[in-house]
Symmetry: none
C-alpha cells in the first residue's frame, strides 16, 4: 500500500466528516444529536462502499461486518461522537483508519477465515449524559439502569432519549456479544508523549483509572463590603484553597497522577456579593489504584474539614474506573509487528479513557496510539499528521492480516 496516499485519504475523510457535522463554528457530535445523525450517514456510506453489511444496534452504534468463513469475529472499533468544540481526530480517526485498513485487506484479496467488523461507537465522551462509553458498554452488556436513568442538562433520561429516537431499551441485554475473539482500537494519543519522544506508534499496555467528582461547597451569601473577613463563609475562597492545596499534594504524591478542575461555577455570581455556593468538577487519574485511593481519601478529608468550619459540602462520585491492563500477549505481538515495519514504537500508559478499557475485561483487547501534534486534544487545535494516520492504517492492516492468517492465535 502507498502509506502516504492512504494517510492523505484518511485526512480527507476526517475533514469531510468534521465539516458536515458542525454546530455553528464548533464540532460537536453528541448522542442522538442532528450532527451525530449526519455523521452516521457519512460513515454508513463509507462502510457500504466497501461492500460491508451495515446494521445499527439499539444504542445507536453502527456495525459494519465482513463475513468470513468462521463466525469468530475480530472487531475494530472507535467512537464517532465528540466533546463540545472537539477536534477532527479523536474517535473518528480510529474509524477511518479501521475502514482504510479493511479496504486494504479486501482489495488485496485477503482470505477472510474469520469475520471482521468495524464498529462506530456512540457517546464515548459522555458530553450529553454524565456516563460515557455507552456504545462500548452495550457491546459487553454493561448498560444498566444507572446509565438508562442518567439525565442530560434538559432533564431527559437516556431511556427517554432512546425511545424518542426509535431505539428500544428493552432489547439492549440481548445485544451482548459472545462471538468476538479480539478487539482492536487505533486512537490519537491526545497527549504529548509520542511527539516529545519522537515515536511513531504507542502500544498501550494499560489505561489509567479515573475518579470523577462533582463538588458543591455552600457558604453564606453576604454583602462583600460590609461583612468582616473573619465572620464570612466564602465558598470561592474555600474552593480555591482546596483546589490549590490538593493539586500541590497530588504533584508531590505521584509523577503519573493528574488532577484537573475543568468546570467551575459560582452562584449568584455577582462581584459585590459573597457567593452563596460554588460547584466544580474533579477529574483524577492515575495508573496506580493505590494512589487514586490516597488522593480520594485526601479529598474527603479536606472537604470534611470545611464542614467543621460551617460550610455545607456535597460530594458526588460520578465515576470510579479502576486502571485497566490490556492483553499483554496481544500488546507484545502488536509491538513486534510495528517494529518490523520500521516504525519507532514504544509501550505506554493511556491517560485518557477509551472504549478499549470497557471491553478489555471481557475480550482480548489491543490499543494503538498515533501521535497528536503538541498533545492537543478536545479542542479545535487537535491535529494528527496524515503521515501518522498512514502509519496507523499500515500497522492495523498488517496486524489484521496476521490474525486472519492465524499468525496470532486470538
Amino acid at each position: 500500500m502507498n502509506r502516504q496516499e492512504v494517510g492523505l485519504k484518511a485526512e480527507e475523510m476526517l475533514n469531510e466528516l468534521a465539516d458536515q457535522t458542525r454546530m455553528g463554528d464548533e464540532i460537536w457530535r453528541y448522542i442522538y444529536s442532528d450532527t451525530e445523525k449526519k455523521g452516521k450517514k457519512i460513515i454508513r456510506q463509507w462502510m457500504e462502499a466497501l461492500g460491508l453489511l451495515v446494521i445499527e444496534d439499539q444504542i445507536g452504534n453502527l456495525i459494519a461486518r465482513k463475513e468470513g468463513k468462521s463466525k469468530e469475529t475480530i472487531v475494530i472499533g472507535s467512537h464517532m461522537d465528540t466533546v463540545k468544540d472537539g477536534g477532527k481526530y479523536d474517535g473518528a480517526g480510529g474509524i477511518v483508519i479501521g475502514l482504510l485498513a479493511l479496504k486494504e485487506l479486501i482489495e488485496s484479496d485477503e482470505t477472510f477465515d474469520k469475520s471482521i467488523e468495524i464498529i462506530a461507537f456512540t457517546e464515548e465522551e459522555g458530553s450529553r449524559f454524565l456516563s460515557g462509553y455507552l456504545g462500548s458498554k452495550n457491546l459487553v452488556g454493561k448498560i444498566t439502569q444507572l446509565e438508562l436513568n442518567d439525565t442530560d442538562s434538559d432533564g431527559i433520561s437516556l431511556k427517554e432519549a432512546m425511545i424518542s429516537n426509535g431505539y428500544d431499551p428493552e432489547k439492549l441485554p440481548k445485544e451482548k456479544r459472545r462471538d468476538v475473539a479480539a478487539y482492536l482500537e487505533v486512537h490519537i494519543e491526545q497527549g504529548p508523549v509520542l511527539e516529545t519522544l519522537r515515536h511513531d506508534i504507542g502500544i498501550v499496555e494499560s489505561i489509567v483509572g479515573i475518579r470523577a467528582f462533582d463538588i458543591t461547597i455552600k457558604g453564606r451569601q453576604d454583602h462583600a463590603g460590609t461583612t468582616p473577613m473573619d465572620i464570612r463563609l466564602d465558598p470561592v475562597y474555600a474552593a480555591s484553597k482546596f483546589i490549590s492545596e490538593t493539586t500541590d499534594y497530588v504533584r508531590r504524591l505521584s509523577k503519573t497522577a493528574t488532577f484537573t478542575i475543568g468546570a467551575m461555577s459560582v452562584l449568584p455570581g455577582v462581584s459585590n456579593v459573597i457567593a452563596d455556593s460554588t460547584n466544580f468538577s474533579i477529574d483524577l487519574r492515575d495508573r496506580s489504584e493505590e494512589d487514586l485511593v490516597n488522593v480520594t481519601d485526601r479529598i474527603y478529608e479536606s472537604l470534611g474539614s470545611l464542614e467543621e468550619q460551617g460550610y455545607a459540602v456535597t460530594i458526588k462520585l460520578l465515576c470510579a474506573e479502576e486502571p485497566v491492563d490490556l492483553d499483554s500477549r496481544l500488546s507484545d505481538f502488536m509491538y513486534d509487528k510495528s517494529q518490523n515495519l520500521g516504525l519507532r514504537t514504544m509501550k505506554m500508559v493511556s491517560g485518557a479513557g477509551h472504549d478499549a478499557q470497557i471491553i478489555a475485561p471481557h475480550i482480548k483487547t489491543g490499543l494503538i496510539f498515533v501521535p497528536s501534534v503538541k498533545g492537543r486534544s478536545h479542542s479545535s487545535d487537535e491535529y494528527t499528521k496524515s503521515y501518522d494516520l498512514g502509519n496507523g492504517v499500515l500497522l492495523l492492516a498488517t496486524i489484521l492480516k496476521e490474525m486472519l492468517q492465524g499468525e496470532f492465535d486470538v
Copy 2:
C-alpha cells in the same frame, strides 16, 4: 412623637413601595424602568401630602422642598433605585425616614429658618449602567461624558436613555447645587456589626475606598488525562492559588480590609478538559488608602508572576474610589444627640458605598446607620425592624430641629 407608631408607619410605606414595584417576584427599580416610574409616583404622592413643592431634575431625581426663611438648604437624601432582586429597605428606608422626620417637624410647628429638601436619588446601585451614584453625582455636578456614554446591557447609553425618557443631558451642568449647607442620609447598615454588638445607631465616620477589577487568566486548553501535571498551564489552578494566597495576605495585612471574588467563570468548562481561561471579579475595600495601594500592588505582582510562567493575564480596573471621611464635627454632634436620646450608639466605618460619599467632598455630610437583621442586604431577606426605623426617624427629626434652631452651625 410615638416612636413605635412612626416605625410601623415607615414599615407600611416601605411595604407599599415594594409591592407596587416588583418585576415578577423580584424587587428591581433601575433608572428609567417602569418600576422606578411607579415608585416615583408613590414617593411624589407622599411628598405632596406633606405640602412640599416637588420637582424632578434632569437626571430624574425627585426633589421635595420645604421653603424656609433662608435659601440655605439642608438636604436629606437617599436613593429610590434597587439592585436586581433587592430588598425593601436599602435606599428606600432613608427616603421614608426623611419624610417621616420632616412630617414630625411640620406637625410640631417648627420654625423653618433654613430650607429643607428631601431628595429621592436615582440609580445609586449602578444596576443598569456600570456607573452608580448618578443621582448624587448630579447634585454636585459630577456627571461627565464618561457616565453619559456608559451603556447598558442592550447597548443603550445613559445619554440616549435620558433623551428617550424626556430628560436633557445638556442641562445637567446647570443643576449643580451651591446652596446646600449640609447633607444628611439615613441608611440601613447592610452589615452585621450593629446587630452583633447590640447597638441601635451607627454614626459613620468614613466610607471605605473600593477597587474593583475584572481578571482573565488564559492558560492552555488540553486533555485532562493525557497532559502531565508539570507541563500544563491550568488557569483554574493558577486562579485558585492566586485567590487563596491573596485572601490570606489581605487578612494578615489589615483587620478592616475586605477581599471578595464574587463572580467566576471557567471556559470551556468541561470536566475532562484543562480550561483555556478563567475570568473572575475582585472587590477590594478598605478605609485605608495605603492598604488599598498595598493590596493592589500585590495583585499586580502575583498576576505578573503568572505571565512569567506562560499564562496571559488581563487586568481591568473597573473602579477606584478613594476612602471618604465624613464631617467629623457633624458626626460628633449626631453621636451626642443619639446618645442623649438613650440610643446605644457607635461610630463606625461603612463597608458599602453610599450617595453620601459622592457628596461629602463638596458638602458637609452626615451618615446614620440603622441595624440590618443578620446583616443581610441586596437580597429579599433584607430586613430592618420597625423599632429601628422608628429610632432613625426620632434621631433625624431631633438633629434637624437642632439645625433649624442653630444649635449646630452648618
